[in-house]
């Protein structure tokens, strides 16, 4: 008789854990906005998306060395591209954060660095598909984003500093080594350690790629 309450008690934390996971499995509001723009050309949603991303993209571009005027111009171009290409956004491939970041990066390279950056084309007949296609659903992508954010927040300062220079200032590892006055080998090691940690964060068994 006693075994039943104990068993119930023992199960409770797991049960609670599952409830919490369910609660976390909300939709990403940014994805919803993008889909409304794609489906209905909804200007109100676009305004909300703009209010969320424009300040972050401006921060990114200013960190990348853009003047306020240039940052504003690039942000406008990025958001216009988002408006026009929203129908190409696939929530099963990337989060809204990632998709909009890649547009901003590309506009920045184009506009400020005046450099071409060839990219693979998903419709290329030469494209080789993975043996086992990973099946992402939208929720998994949101979860991965959260884990990635946590993992980024817990990186040792010396590793985080290098990633910030690489992503925000767009510096090559060679330049980072010169600027930080540390050997290139050390920079590469720190990058490897950081990326291994981030990869681990998104490839925990339940979120396996």
């Amino acid at each position: 008789m006693l075994a039943i309450p104990i068993a119930l008690f023992a199960r409770r934390p797991e049960y609670r854990g599952r409830r919490r996971l369910m609660a976390d499995r909300r939709k990403d509001p940014m994805v919803e906005l993008l889909l409304s723009i794609a489906n209905r050309r909804d200007r109100h949603c676009f305004k909300q998306l703009f209010d969320h991303y424009a300040p972050r993209l401006t921060a990114y571009l200013q960190k990348a060395g853009c003047s306020i005027a240039v940052a504003e111009e690039v942000v406008q171009e990025v958001m216009l591209t988002v408006w026009r290409k929203a129908d190409q956004y696939d929530p099963q491939r990337a989060s809204a954060n990632t998709w909009i970041y890649t547009i901003a990066r590309n506009r920045h390279i184009d506009h400020v660095r005046k450099r071409r950056r060839p990219e693979p084309d998903p419709a290329d007949p030469a494209l080789v598909s993975p043996a086992a296609r990973r099946t992402d659903d939208e929720m998994e992508i949101i979860e991965r984003g959260k884990r990635l954010k946590e993992a980024l927040g817990s990186l040792p300062e010396e590793q985080a500093a290098i990633l910030e220079r690489a992503y925000f200032q767009g510096e090559s590892l060679r330049v980072i080594a010169e600027e930080m006055k540390i050997p290139l080998g050390t920079v590469k090691t720190r990058v490897r350690l950081a990326l291994n940690r981030l990869r681990k964060a998104v490839t925990r068994p339940e979120f396996a790629l």
Binding site: P120, A123, K188, L209
Partner: protein, 214 residues
């Protein structure tokens, strides 16, 4: 068959963050077309960037940007840039726009059995060639002044005891003194990005260099 010789992660990172030269970006784009593993790594690196930017402290945005933007939402879409399309899959699509109008390389004979095309680049710091090398050919013993990356598109070769075939990338520098033996069943076409001309170490190699600008 997926590639077994990959692009090192630090080069993928410089591609993802936009710091790599156009030549290296082209090599990466062509490789990740053929290599799902490195393509997935690049997607992950973009995810890292997206998460980092989303976590930034929001900056101030002047209020008239949205007003200006609203005026532009109804602008007609710009003509989509003509995208090269390929019917045969020898050349990954990112390469096509560098090959000229009919998207086929105009080979120039450099030496018997060796044909080259130099691809046009706005930035000429790192010359990029397509090379077609006759099946069974041996590139004589040589070394490099700097960095050289070779992506195999057709055929294959053996270099330093390892076999490279379609999609594989061989990265070499001054530490390597080697000769390269092409597979005997098919001509080898590869994309080569280099910092500096190669240095032949044999008399025959030096003789060949008179013909070859590689």
């Amino acid at each position: 068959m997926t590639p077994t010789h990959h692009i090192p992660e630090d080069l993928l990172l410089s591609y993802a963050t936009g710091s790599s030269e156009e030549a290296i970006s082209l090599l990466v784009a062509a490789h990740i077309t053929l290599c799902p593993q490195c393509r997935q790594t690049c997607e992950h690196l973009d995810e890292v960037g997206g998460t980092m930017v989303a976590s930034l402290e929001p900056a101030e945005v002047s209020t008239d940007i949205m007003d200006k933007l609203v005026e532009r939402l109804d602008e007609p879409l710009p003509e989509p840039a003509a995208t090269a399309s390929n019917t045969d899959s020898t050349y990954p699509r990112p390469l096509l726009s560098y090959l000229g109008d009919n998207a086929q390389p105009r080979w120039k004979t450099s030496a018997p059995g060796l044909y080259l095309v130099r691809l046009p680049f706005a930035l000429e710091k790192q010359p990029v060639h397509l090379a077609q090398i006759r099946a069974g050919y041996t590139v004589p013993h040589h070394t490099h002044h700097g960095f050289e990356a070779t992506l195999v598109l057709t055929g294959g070769f053996i270099d330093c005891g390892e076999h490279f075939e379609r999609g594989d990338v061989a990265i070499r520098n001054e530490k390597f003194r080697h000769d390269v033996v092409m597979d005997s069943d098919e001509d080898c076409i590869c994309l080569i990005v280099s910092d500096a001309p190669l240095i032949p170490l044999t008399f025959y190699g030096r003789l060949l260099q008179l013909f070859t600008p590689l």
